[in-house]
Amino acid sequence: MSLDDSKNGLEVVYKKPSTLTETPLHYCPGCGHGVAHRVIMEVVEEMGIQEETIGVAPVGCSVFAYHYMDIDMQEAAHGRASAVATGIRRVLPDKYVFSYQGDGDLAAIGTAETIHTVNRGENILMIFINNGIYGMTGGQMAPTTLLGQKTSTSPYGRDAKAIGYPLKITDMLCLLPGAYYVTRQAAHTAGAVRKLKKAIQKSFEYQKLNKGTCFVEIVTNCPSGYGMTPVESNKWIEEKMFPYYPLGDLKVPKPEEN
């Protein structure tokens, strides 16, 4: 039976955006990636920019993002997504370009590319998925892993003396004049998703102004990596992650710029 069966008096009020493919997501139950993918693609659909948008996928759990997003995409090497996106946007200055990276990709191996992309004020949108753990390789410590947090490579909990502190790279980027709009959002409740969508939509709109980089951090969960149920993991990020990575806009365009 088709869902779109108005004869039965039914009305479709919620469906998959046309900008997502039919490929079933490979993500673990409860993972935030699926929501993040959907929100980005909803914005692309609503803005009608499917034909003008090019995405760059990372290395990590979302390495196959291009299986799901029905737009032209490039798969980058680990940490290099923003350099790849720079290359694309520089030769296609009229298109919308975004990169999509996890915490290991963007804030460990790709730190130099991240900082310099934003410092140049590349007119792209950088999406940063921060779940505090390396999901794909089996739950190792990430640059954003919290102090005391146990992972497969910090089995006794992250110790600042041994390995340093959770990296607030998003806060660091706010210092750079090239950063136009920097925000930290979440995707674990309906309210959070609504705010996230607004942030992503603004970021796409800002791209046409050519005024600098838009950076959207999404603090998400990793039920498998944390060894928790989806509900537990969402509770955990609220209790542990949000106090260290508080949600909200970190840098907004000055009124006269807007």
Binding site: Q50, E51, E52, T53, I54, V56, A57, V63, F64, Y66, D70, I71, D72, M73, Q74, E75, A76, A77, R80, A83, V84, A85, T86, G87, I88, R90, V91, L92, K95, A112, E113, I115, H116
Partner: protein, 364 residues
Amino acid sequence: MNQTIEIVRETRLMKGNEALAEAAIRAGIHAYFGYPITPQSEVLEYLTREMPKRSGVVLQAESEVAAINMIYGAAGAGARVITSSSSPGISLMQEGLSYIASAQLPCLVVNVNRGGPGLGTIQPSQGDYFQATKGGGHGDYHLIVLAPASVQEMADFVFDGIALAEKYRNPAMILSDGALGQMMEKVDLPEEGSLEYPEVNWATVGKKKGKERNIITSLYIQPEKMEQINLELQEKYKRLKQEVRFELINTEDADILLVAFGLSARICQKAIELAREKGIKLGLLRPITLYPFPEDALASFTDKVDFYLCVEMNAGQMIEDVKLAVNGKKPVYHFGRMGGMIPSPEEVLAEVEKVVEQQLVTKE
């Protein structure tokens, strides 16, 4: 910005690096991404000065790692792109080159080879032959490798390298060295706009309505699929053999065949003159494409010459390919200087005379 200047064929006295940079503009590149390193920085300097006045994107990246990934992105978006560096920087680009080769993106990479290993020296070397011709990064792949021996070829091979890269959708490399990059010679510059752009339907320029999306990737998690990609690449490398290029100098009556590329070949030409004054019939086979390698041409001399002598500015790298081509039918010797030292024609001749003497002793 971007005003049209009519650029016609003209002759100038230029540094190798500058001739290469000027040729890149005339070849119609859309973008250059690079990072300063001696002895190739003139390429970046020339392009940051000239490209804003003419056309195209030029960007000094934060590292060679970033530069090669910008190349990946721009090439994947269908742009004609080049980058340049020198040995330590080229090492940093190997990861990206492996991805570019696997994703089958055309681009041109210039290595103005300096002495190594490590930070080494800024003086010329051919120590990166293995890295250039055997892949360099991880996995089974090859670059198309052109070896210029003059400032003229520094310019010409930009056009040839781009044309080959685009024809085969494969990264191409110009393997030059610090001397060719820095020395000045007369160069006949090619006409701007004379290199046509290919039709491209695979690039990520935005998904067309009702068409499949384009994806640039090197990830095929199923081994069955990854093997297919490998077979495709290997089939392409077989087809590449038809692009083999080499130069023969004084080989008609040669008793001894020198084999040398790039700057070493220039030195060998002088050694041939000196030898012939003494009645020693030296000839030279200069591989112009190092990959594909002119193995058949080398093998065709096994009945004609007494031995082969590879002259290289390294410890003996190309000699391995020469030995494979000769396949034991004649002795193959090596003479090389390393670490930025350039052999003199007299040294080459002395080495030839030494080998001749050794051979006479062995025969007795």
